[in-house]
């Protein structure tokens, strides 16, 4: 007589056999299984940034994939690594997502060398989103500095596709030099949309530049709004959103009506690797979108 311990195969769990859907966070799933996807289009935006159109190959997985503006995905180049990237496209668009990626290191550098049809792995979406539902009937300020336009483009789409839900929409974008401006081919379209205002500023103009020159906060000087009825989404490096948000606060916008997106090192996107912790907050689960009041209350946030 001996005692035999029975093998347990986690694949026998009914829950894990259901379709892979990262939006069902509590569900037991193959957390490291990627959606097989491929790059379908590469658009050169600047010297440093490219826009990648990425399509999940399996039709059912593609149909099931949905996200909200502000969320991010983990993009994997098998053999090289996995990086967190905000989704830059419209959340109403089915079929493919668009990622605006800056060449910053190993994986992003390799992505820049990729051509259409390159297979990539995709996990997600992860993280919190900009609470656009809360902003119904209000004015929205959509403010980006530098690469911040990448995460801001999804809420810009949401607002421009649903203008009836908002009062005024004002897009404010600042970059170092004219040649750093992202999505410059889309400004004309945004400008022509009824009810949308667009202002762009650069710090270091070139000979051809005839627009605003200076820091992004300068653009705030000229605007007037009913502070209590205004929400702001501010994307950019910490120094930038700090200056902008403090400015908006002084203009009377409640800090809980301003939303920013934080960046930290990430290795999982699922609250497990701890690399993205700020004090006791997980940027990948509780963020990356936070209201400014919460950011100020996070120890070691900025």
């Amino acid at each position: 007589m001996s005692v035999i311990l029975h093998p347990y195969d986690v694949r026998d769990e009914l829950e894990i056999q259901k379709a892979l859907d990262f939006n069902r966070r509590k569900q037991l799933k193959h957390v490291d299984k990627v959606h097989r996807a491929e790059i379908t289009n590469v658009v050169e935006l600047t010297e440093q940034e490219k826009l990648f159109h990425i399509r999940i190959l399996d039709a059912q997985e593609r149909e099931r994939f949905s996200f909200l503006p502000g969320q991010f995905v983990m993009v994997e180049l098998p053999g090289y690594g996995e990086v967190p990237i905000s989704i830059s496209s419209s959340s109403s668009q089915k079929g493919h997502i668009e990622l605006c990626i800056r060449k910053a290191g190993l994986v992003t550098g390799l992505l820049h060398a990729c051509k259409p049809k390159t297979p990539v792995g995709l996990r997600g979406p992860f993280g919190t989103h900009f609470p656009l539902g809360k902003m119904r009937g209000k004015n929205v300020l959509l403010i980006a500095g530098g690469l911040g336009l990448a995460p801001l483009r999804a809420p810009i789409y949401y607002v421009t596709e649903n203008l009836g839900e908002f009062a005024d929409a004002h897009i404010i974008y600042g970059a170092k030099r004219p040649k750093d401006l992202l999505f410059d081919y889309e400004y004309e379209e945004w400008r022509r949309i009824y009810g949308v205002k667009l202002d762009i500023i650069v710090e270091k103009p070139d000979e051809k530049w005839d627009g605003h020159v200076g820091l992004i906060t300068q653009l705030l000087d000229g605007i007037t709004f009913d502070a209590n009825d205004t929400y702001a989404i501010v994307c950019g490096p910490p120094v930038m959103f700090k200056f902008v948000c403090n400015r908006l606060r002084d203009m009377g916008i409640p800090m809980q009506h301003m939303f920013v997106s934080l960046e930290r090192r990430m290795h999982c996107g699922m609250g497990k690797c701890c690399r993205c912790n700020i004090g006791s907050t997980f940027t990948c689960i509780d963020g990356p979108v936070f209201d400014y009041w919460s950011v100020l209350n996070l120890k070691e946030a900025i």
Binding site: V3, P7, Y8, P78, R265, H267, C274
Partner: protein
Amino acid sequence: MLFKVMAKSSFEELVGLLLESNEVIGPRMKTRHPDGKGVHQFLPITAFADMDLDYEKSEYSPKTYFLPFKENLSTYRFQGGDWEQEIKYRIQPRAIVGMRACDINALVKLDKVLLKGDFPSPYYLARRKNTFIIGLDHDPCENGFCASVGSDIVSHGFDLFLTDLGDRYFVAIDSDRGYRVAANVEIRDPTEADNEAYVQTRNRIAKGFKVEVSIRNLPQILDLEFQSPVWKKWGDKCLSCGSCSAVCPTCYCYGVEEKVAMDFSESAKVKRLYSCNLYDFAMVAGGHNFRPSRESRLKYRYYHQHRGFVETYDEPKCVGCNRCGDVCLAGINPPEVITDLEKEAAR
């Protein structure tokens, strides 16, 4: 939970039965410290006598059988410019004999993080469910403070938990499979005398703690003392070696790296346990480091153990084993760091 009593000879018989057809892990003495004390590790055994059940605590925690230092998350097989992904989970069962209360409590905490919240981990679940745990109580280890953090008593998270009553064990049974396995040897219901002996033993153990750490106000103190010079004092000593996290039974943070085979036929996505005390823990592309100083990293480790975890789970993450203190070449240990913080806050 059921309580039974088992003769010591029956326990030996039970381990023998398990050994016949299963992998069994137990505390083994591998060598001795210079002062003569044994160095114990949880390792595979082939006979009951391989184990030293009277060990104080193992050098490394048995978490390695649940969260291995390196674990393959998935394998990509390359062919013709394309790839296939393969994911494997552990399906082989095994038994671990002789785990202490603190180490089982550590698993219960890991369960909360890895199974009960968002994105439950199938890798951990597979290992957890494939492990049959027989715990064993012991008098307090020399510098442990598990009683101060409420981890000296374990009420679940195991299959069987034994308390030594001299010639017999008082057995707590916490699972159906624990009951079925125990039923292979002679067990009986506890008598009045057994219950009394059990309570006495528990009392003796509870009174045996030499180290006491006051953690009642620690979450608030950590907030108040966020800028405290105490962090610089201890941080300046830290070697940023990460040993503390490696031996800690509840540290679970990790990094991911991809390892390509020499012939480029496949690549493994490997999870490697990390430490928040390592220099590049919070470093991002472009070289910006969110915690560039040793004190900021050390502080973060204490913050996670005693503040962040408390916020979410109403209990500290630390189980008070003091392994991090034992292993630290710089002499950084929770009782002293926490006492310093308390003193600073009281000033």
